[in-house]
Symmetry: C2
Subunit: 425 residues, 2 copies
Amino acid sequence: MKSLNIPDTSLPRVVIVGCGFGGLSLAKKLKKKPFQVVMIDKHNYHTFQPLLYQVATAGLEPDSIAYPIRNIFKGQKDFYYRMAEATEIKSEEKLLCTDIGEIEYDYLIIASGSSTNYFGMKDMEEGSMPMKTVPEALNLRSLMLQNFEAASLTNDLDERERLMNFVIVGAGPTGVELAGALAELKTHVLPNDYPDLDFRRMSIHLVESGNAVLGPMSESAQKNAQKYLEKLGVNVWLDTRVEKYDGENAQTNKKSLPASTLIWAAGVKGNILNGLAENTLNRGRYIVNDFNELPNYEGIYAIGDVAAMISEEKPFGDPMLAQVAIQQGINVAKNFINITKNKSPKPFKYKDLGTMATVGRNKAVADLNGVKFKGFIGWLLWMMVHLIGLVGFRNKAIVLFNWFINYFSYDKKIRLIIRPVERKK
Amino acid sequence: MKSLNIPDTSLPRVVIVGCGFGGLSLAKKLKKKPFQVVMIDKHNYHTFQPLLYQVATAGLEPDSIAYPIRNIFKGQKDFYYRMAEATEIKSEEKLLCTDIGEIEYDYLIIASGSSTNYFGMKDMEEGSMPMKTVPEALNLRSLMLQNFEAASLTNDLDERERLMNFVIVGAGPTGVELAGALAELKTHVLPNDYPDLDFRRMSIHLVESGNAVLGPMSESAQKNAQKYLEKLGVNVWLDTRVEKYDGENAQTNKKSLPASTLIWAAGVKGNILNGLAENTLNRGRYIVNDFNELPNYEGIYAIGDVAAMISEEKPFGDPMLAQVAIQQGINVAKNFINITKNKSPKPFKYKDLGTMATVGRNKAVADLNGVKFKGFIGWLLWMMVHLIGLVGFRNKAIVLFNWFINYFSYDKKIRLIIRPVERKK
């Protein structure tokens, strides 16, 4: 049995699986508190996922939305990071297993987030591009550019159109923002790169099984977002389901859409670990009590996307959003600190700060505390909120600078195929 | 036979293999001239190679030293780019073969640059890390960080030291600059990331078979550079050859150096293509006349690293430097334009603008037109020259901003393992 080589101390050991929004805020809150904190993540960086779509569409470099974990916790005493993938929980021995060794815990926090959910559709899983991690966003950027290079090589108009077309499945914030960014590439950027291609032939299809884009937002936000998308030339297909995809055509219940690239943004599922009983799960997320603790498993907590704090009003738990993860991480940390002070822990209550989505330049929608914003003001708000969320001054500055350049040049410069992807099928 | 789908026109077609310094300057010079220009490169971007070592050492993001080729030539009429790898020249048919199809040329310019030369040492080729392309620099960055993560896991002090050690073979500009950058990471950056590791145990060995670092520079530059390196804690081994490397120990003619990472910067060779006679080569580079043309091959030219313009004074041709490639590219373009004006072509004469190398903050050496600079002034000059050389305002600004941040924070923030590399052996 290999160990993770963490020193044993008299401090209670908090092991956190995942340095996403939840794990990060929890670990930071425990700074200078009487705990040994061990962070496990297979990536050595925290990813600011809300901006991944801009990496995929050549607007931002990956390095500006990722931040090294060791740097975040520089100087934090009794903090240990290990680059490892958690695989199994042995709850009776209070042991977490990873691909490089095992570690005992006093408190275990599962903050492993979520990954793309294909709902069992094998052809979708094989043929489509996910966009939940930095390497996945880079793969999408490469594939998009490779497809335009390939389109330049063929005179078969059907093939060329297919290579230039995009189908995005799911009109949540990710799908909407990606569709908008692709539409801007189509209008302002790609025609300069590929003067030989006729961009009237390029189609961007946004396919949504519900009856509106941005499902959980206000009706006016939904209407405005759809209006913006259509203005940019995106084909919005509501009440439409993709049923089959063979790498060349996406078969929906209404129409067949030819496209070499299909991006799946229609669902996520919790990244659960092996070892706990099946009945701890609700729709692929751990059922937790009001303190984010797993009933019947002492010392094991789940926060963020992988946790479902279900109640009668919220049969599916809180939404799978960064804000929920952050607030839960902070609440769990506070409760740990309360325990050391013999205070009683406080139940979690999600404070909805609002939701927002951007479609393109000067085009965004935001519902904040019942107040609705749109257009240029919404867009400024969106940028401000996202800049504040980024970790580190360097990243904030470089993202702002890129936005500035992109805005005034109508260009997105990072059209690099650093590692080509193999075309699937 | 697949074609590259380039329209046939009445203009003479200039096919350029490689968008490095030489190919880039040639193609730009032909803007608005009566030629059809076809650029072939397997990467869709131009790489500013002199700063690759800063990508490898977490100081710069890859996207700031690479620039998309299509963007460079935006709006240039009769210019075509194809992402392809040139494989063979069929000179009798005036045909260039690539991995995606063939193309006829009127003029063919081989500007394919150079790659790492292991001089037939198989163990070196398998065990060492090259650093000639962006993906290679990213691999080196990943491996370096992975090694420190692995060092945190072991209590075997020999293994830990090996993981923390670096051997750099070859003390040309690349080797010297890389050694200096690693030494700065050792002093200012890594001890914060890995408080458990004892950095007195980390060794950086710079191994050079000649009797001085920076061989072609002035004696005072050599002396100063070596002094800077030693001040930063780099072990400089002159008159020393690495004879064997098994992934754990580098056996030299003097001492065995334990190190999990060996970076090979000891030599390059021209990237030659198949199809031309063997006797066109001199030490792996095409022999060219004073006009960069290959004797006996009408219409075929070679420029930059892959060309050897040999003479009695210069039995090996001009040095393999960016400046030579740029000047040759411009001269060849001017000669093409001269032909269209019925003027006679001009022979190439290399104008040595000087050489420079930086070792670390405030530490650089430069020999410019007989004037020698060192220390802070040399370092400012080095930065200025490299900023000017970068393509595009965005890249210049982001590089400058990163240097600014790195300088004042004594930090290098881009310590990301985006794609882990498999440990060799």
